[in-house]
């Protein structure tokens, strides 16, 4: 295969190889890198900024910045984590500049307090057992909820209603499928704080779904 032909088949290559090819000037490799990561980067920006259009615009700018800094990328983190850090830092600056209500502005209060994720009334006074245990859920629960318009809408509404920092973490982890490390990078959170927010957010959504279990 000629070098020119070898440069054109990019989609299945790993990120490190794509980066090397981008630095060598291979445009298809650059396009493959954008296709692979762009959607995820927009989702990261979107949970940290108030409007989708703003997130799209910011990520386009981040790609330009990433291209300029690509030669300095040393591979200490994955390409994905490196890109997320660029987007996260810019989104944070933009949110502060535009005084957006964002996950960061509520972070301290979101992490404060230690309210139980299940009301204490549901346990015996000494906490050793449940008085009112969780109801039964069929294993088909996820599919059933997603098929029922009312239940699905209620879940989406509950997710939107979570405190900003919890919503950001649950959306990135459980809806968008980012890893814990990627979310910590995106939100400048410690691993422990990321899990605190995740636990509180998930528990609220579980409590909501509990109300739909009997009908499924």
């Amino acid at each position: 295969m000629s070098p020119a032909a070898a440069m054109t088949s990019a989609p299945e290559l790993d990120d490190a190889t794509l980066v090397a090819r981008v630095l060598a000037g291979d445009e298809p490799s650059f396009e493959a890198l954008v296709r692979r990561h762009h959607g995820r980067l927009v989702r990261v920006a979107r949970v940290l900024l108030p409007r989708h259009a703003l997130a799209e615009e910011l990520v386009q700018e981040c790609w330009m910045s990433a291209l300029e800094r690509l030669e300095k990328f040393e591979g200490r983190s994955s390409v994905s984590t490196w890109l997320i850090a660029i987007v996260s830092n810019r989104a944070k600056s933009l949110a502060q500049r535009e005084r957006c209500r964002s996950a960061w502005t509520e972070l301290d209060s979101a992490l404060a307090g230690s309210e139980p994720v299940v009301p204490l009334e549901r346990f015996t006074a000494n906490g050793r057992s449940w008085v009112s245990g969780p109801n039964r859920w069929a294993k088909e629960m996820p599919d059933a909820v997603l098929r029922q318009a009312q239940a699905r809408a209620a879940l989406e509404q509950a997710l939107e209603s979570l405190p900003e920092a919890q919503r950001a973490v649950v959306t990135l982890r459980d809806v968008d499928g980012l890893s814990a490390d990627e979310v910590c990078e995106a939100m400048a959170l410690s691993a422990a704080n990321q899990r605190v927010l995740l636990h509180r957010g998930r528990a609220k959504l579980r409590a909501l779904l509990e109300g739909y279990a009997d009908g499924i």
């Binding site: 981008v22 386009q60 906490g127 245990g133 039964r136 909820v145 809806v175 509990e210």
Partner: protein, 87 residues
């Protein structure tokens, strides 16, 4: 809320459920959770429900973003490529 008891009670398991699911507990705490779950159907159900909640959220998905580089981004790439020294 660390406990010196060799076992966890229900409220302690509920508080640690996500840490347990994320394999983020110290080994001794993880064993204490497992021991508790082995005999507590309610807490087993709670942990399972959190797993199903995660599964349900994953099904919500998000609308796909435009994944093609914009014309401006392509132009930027070409300009940078021309500026970079040839290796």
């Amino acid at each position: 809320m660390a406990s010196d008891r060799p076992y966890f009670i229900c409220t302690e398991v509920v508080a640690r459920a996500t840490d347990f699911m994320e394999s983020a507990l110290p080994l001794t705490d993880s064993l204490r959770v497992r021991l508790h779950l082995a005999h507590c159907a309610d807490c087993r159900r709670f942990v399972r429900q959190l797993e199903l909640t995660v599964e349900t959220c994953a099904g919500l998905g998000t609308p796909p973003a435009t994944a093609e580089p914009s014309a401006a981004l392509r132009a930027h790439f070409r300009a940078l490529t021309q500026r970079r020294p040839k290796t």
